[in-house]
């Protein structure tokens, strides 16, 4: 074996500003450019929702589905815990959705060196795009497309389980 080469060496670097958001002790990072707006949970509309969405929020004249991940598994819930104070509106070219969260932190631009999720943990279409080792901690990088897929999966589970 050649110790000079390691399988999980940094593969890319994001010199972009990131946003961290927290849900029940989980901390997820995404690119700041995917954040459309930050709203209050008090602005949610709870009528006419399509489970597993927890509500709708109006932005620029359109309704955006709002999801409320919860607990260790980040399972979608329609019951909004009191610590969910923020509604993070996210969008890319193909998806738009809003996520309820407990904390939001702007991390600013830095040389974020990302590493792939280890093969034994990486689900196809999984929530986490990459890991970031930073200041003796490990953060999880996601994106709008993966969050949208994660919410769709929750919808399928809910539909299957009745």
């Amino acid at each position: 074996m050649n110790p000079a080469t390691r399988a999980d060496r940094p593969t890319s670097a994001h010199e972009a500003a990131l946003v961290a958001f927290g849900v029940d002790g989980h901390r997820l990072l995404l690119l700041q450019r995917e954040v459309v707006s930050l709203e209050s949970v008090l602005d949610l509309r709870r009528t006419g929702i399509d489970p597993p969405a927890a509500g709708l929020i109006e932005w620029a004249g359109e309704d955006w589905p709002v999801y409320c991940p919860s607990g260790a598994m980040l399972a979608m819930t329609a019951t909004i815990p009191p610590q969910r104070r923020f509604c993070l509106l996210l969008g890319d070219d193909r998806h738009r959705l809003a996520i309820l969260c407990d904390q939001v932190e702007m991390l600013g631009a830095a040389d974020w060196r990302t590493r792939p999720v280890p093969a034994c943990m990486a689900k196809p279409d999984g929530l986490i795009e990459a890991l970031i080792a930073h200041r003796e901690t490990v953060d999880c990088l996601t994106n709008t497309a993966r969050l949208a897929a994660f919410c769709r999966r929750a919808a399928r589970v809910e539909s299957r389980d009745g």
Partner: protein, 149 residues
């Protein structure tokens, strides 16, 4: 008669396995673990070791079809394996106690234990240690994407 050294690993009071002597590179007591959401139930956490992000795979939980516990692991072993030609990767396994060194000869070779049946997927050999059958882990397979899903 060929002989080799191995580390005998205890995953819980019943489950034992072994790896080659050079495959175990370090042990960490009460490691700081980081939970990664939306990951397999037997492999939900990572640790930082010498700047590497190392997955922690609970072999006992996987063999028994259960979830890795939420409690802290008192001890993990860190193992090196060849993920691809000229590429070393690292993985961690929770251990119940410190590994024991064994000299193993060809004469000790035996069939895998019948239970749990899933040993056949993650072990590529087996030897007898006293009355006990000890599967030899295929670390490259164990830490690949083969057990995901």
């Amino acid at each position: 008669m060929a002989e080799a050294s191995a580390w005998l690993l205890a995953f819980d009071p019943e489950l034992r396995a072994a790896v080659g002597e050079r495959e175990m590179v370090h042990m960490v007591q009460f490691p700081v673990l980081f939970e990664i959401p939306d990951t397999p139930s037997h492999c939900r956490r990572v640790l930082l070791w010498q700047g590497e992000i190392v997955p922690v795979l609970d072999v006992a939980a996987w063999l028994r079809g259960g979830r890795a516990g939420a409690a802290a692991y008192p001890l993990v072993g860190i193992f090196a394996y060849q993920a691809a030609p000229e590429t070393i990767a690292y993985g961690a396994l929770p251990l119940e106690s410190a590994p024991l060194r064994r000299r193993v000869s060809d004469e000790q070779a035996c069939a895998l234990p019948e239970q749990p049946a899933a040993w056949a997927r993650i072990a590529h050999a087996c030897f007898r240690d006293g009355e006990r059958k000890v599967p030899v882990l295929n670390l490259r397979y164990l830490f690949s994407d083969a057990l995901v899903g």
